[in-house]
Amino acid sequence: MGIDRYWHVIRLRLRALFRRRAVERDLDDEMQYHMESEIAFRVARGESPDAARVNALRDFGGVEFHKDSVRDVRGTRLVDSLARDIRFAARSLRRAPAFTLVVVLTLALGIGANSAVFSLIDAVLLHPLPVARPNELVAITETITDQRPLQPLTYPDYRAFAERARSFSGIAAFTTQDVVVATSTGESEQMQAGAVSGNYFAVLGLHAQVGRLLTPNDDDTPGAHPVVVLSDAIWARMFNRSASAVGSTMRIGNNPYTIIGVAPRAFRGTLLTESPRLWVPATMLADLGLAGFLSASNRSRLFGLRHFHFWGAVGRLRDAHLPKNAAAELNAILAQENAKLPATSAARMGYAGRDVRDPIRLMSVNDAAASSDRETLVRFVWILVTVVILTLLIACFNVANLFLVRAGERSLELSLRSSLGASRARIAQQLGVESVLLGVAGAIAGVLVSRAGVSLLASFTLPGRIKLADIPFDVNTRVLAATMALGLLTALIFGLWPAVQASRISLIGALRDTQARSGFDTRALLLGGQVALSIVLLVAAGLFVRTVQAALQADLGFDPSPLAAVRVNPALGGYKGAQVRSYYTLATERALQIPGVTGVALATHVPLARVGSLPFVAGEKAARSDASTDDQVTAGWVYISPNYFDVLHVPILEGRSFTADDTARALSTAIINQAAARALFPDGHAVGREMVHAGSMRFTIVGVVRDTKYAAVQDRHVPMIFTPITPDFSDAVLFIVRSTKPQAALQQLRRVVAAVSPHPPVLEPRLVVDQIDAVVEPQRFGATLVGTYSLLALLIAAIGIYGLVAYVVSKQQREIGIRIALGARPAQVVELVTSRIALSVGGGAVLGLIGAAVASRAMQGFLYGVTRTDGVTYAAAAAAMVVAALAACVIPARRAVKMDPARAMRLE
């Protein structure tokens, strides 16, 4: 059969389907022509016109009969009846607007919420990096000690691996550094820069959009190649995607860099927690304005030092199936490197914990991308997944229940139609069409909800400080299709159920109205399930809310509310020595003149900020020959100006504050907090004693200060060590002001500090109190998301209860009427119509509370200031359910009580 034949046939069918009128007219014309020709022929043969007409009609046979046979040939019958069903379904749904609206909304929320959250998960956890053959790529990490697992590499070790490892076709190194870039408008902007080995882009298998990417030649000599590759984001924002950007220069820090090309559009580095906006050769790292804690001599030896673990490494395996061999090879190379150096234990290098065997570990580059603390992230995401799946289940239960209630209301109509001759298949088709119509409407609304959901999610932060705003993700079409299919399926299954039931209900039974109980048990079960799941969600939301509350009310050891801070980094502005000193002095003076400001202090961190921690040992223990890692105390290390504790109003409990003398002698004296004093000197006398860091750095303790919360509100007080900021300290530092009007002071602080000099830029202005919010951000996210969903679930359950009670009332009108006529009191009537529902709500609630007690185990690590079996939360969840249930019963129960018995009994 030729293709043209099919084409011909398809065209005919389509015409029959879509140009029905024209096709019918053609048929009329054709038959009309036949008649006229036949009559003319007969007249020509000598018949009278009248006889000719009669004979022609007789010979033709029934015109309509033949027309109908022709229509059968066209094969559009099914479509025709479908079109009629769609019109009928649309009409009947319009007549039940409340039902339609609730079903569509429920489906939309279930579908939309799910696809939004699953799209997020897909983007964060599952989405492969936009690099060539990601399955061959592994992240190379070094476990420095058992307390410092999966850390970056040192530069010399990286070089040794890159040059000697045979298992890899290439190994690239990368690190990130905040830099200040001069924009075209003359302002400075802070952004993250990647310092990457010359083979970085080649190992990842990336190609430039414009110009070229870095090559090993760009990375051969420290400081020699000031070239930069732009990210797509920066290219678009600063250069409007103009190809002429390539070849022009850009100021990074204080140095001009030549733009050599633009990275691929989708590429944003290999870690989700980092978002470099531009890339320079690794050997340019020192010139970017590197962290000031490196002394001048260290800085020059930066690439030779074997204890700065800041190089992330990613390698491309020659054989993706043999990562074990590759890891073994790297461990062997590391052992050779260690053998070349005099024995250096991790503790000597300043790291807490014990050495481990085979410190080099490989992990899939996609796993490494998500987070350094992937486990926490995965656990948190699982909570989200559970929540949205529960919500979808609740939505499905509710849709099922609504369909069943509606079926109950229509049982008379359905059995009438079936007794009038409609086949079961015909009724099923019509109900099916109705369900699909609802399902499609729900799915379309679901797309809108998921779009809104995705933009809402973007304002949240996941554990591991993954800001969702930094991760470009959109509604995932596969996910959307899957949830839509599920929604449609639910609608179809529970929409068709009534057809199955209708076929069993006899007309007489339906007319006699004795079927009140049919299908009730299913409904009660669905309702109970819905209530149980809603309670689980309510409890989860409650626990998150209580955690956020507890965090906000936690005793921090100081009052953050009058404090505001901005960050500056003189090194980024290219300042050195005396310049730094006069900058600090001038800025401090100006800040003190701001109205309402009572104090200005400098520090590298404020309480509640994340502080890197290092090991310290009490001086007398360090002197002992049998000193072990068990004697180490891991403490956060903060540099402060002498008046820091005055400004924060944190009392010094023992000893004294820093003096100008301490400041001048830099690293020789320290103040420690109570937690550190307890840990280092259990016998209780800290002041005047010594502690040691990294074997050789000795500090005399001059004071003990009250504990304040660092790192995270939910942590216990951690040991903290404070040392003085030197006058020419040139690393990131905070100006902290205490003011009666902190918000106004913050605005002025930005201005006066910036007025001292345009370089360095004034960054991250914030109220210290806002940092509390930042550390409980994931919990806040959880509280918002789960809270919203649980309220939705509650609302949906209430609607379900309302529907069920209303159904019972309408089905038992006669019985209610009789009882009222016989003198039943209102309370008895209410009991009659709600007792069974109360049972399923109560049962569901009990099940839900038990389920929540079990499920809350997963939330353990994310709770603070509240136990997972917190009685208040559980009671509140149950109470919310009961109140919602009661509210849902009020209207139908009132109708039952107010029923006119005479009318009710006449209904038959």
Binding site: D29, E30, H34, F65, D72, G75
Partner: protein, 111 residues
Amino acid sequence: MSKPNDLVQGTLDVLVLKMLALEPMNGWAISHRLREVSADALQVSHGSLYPALHKLEHDGLITAEWRSTDNNRRAKFYSLTRAGRSHLRSETDDWVRLSRAITAVLRLQEA
């Protein structure tokens, strides 16, 4: 309403295809021609020709187009497609084989 007998029902398609193999024709002309050549032996109600024509058209064996007739009237003219032509050939062969076999059987001399 005269129904075509079973034989005709089964072979009406072939007869129509044969008519159209001679030249493109409109519906009335086909029915007229059929009556002429079969000398009214085939009792077909004229109307039942149309479902047959539309069926053949939907099967892609014939194709139709609106054309003017000799007396300047618009009529729907059917003509054979390539598929229709080969269908007719194989149907004709089948028919000839079958009728030969039946004729041979019917001519058997009774003992």
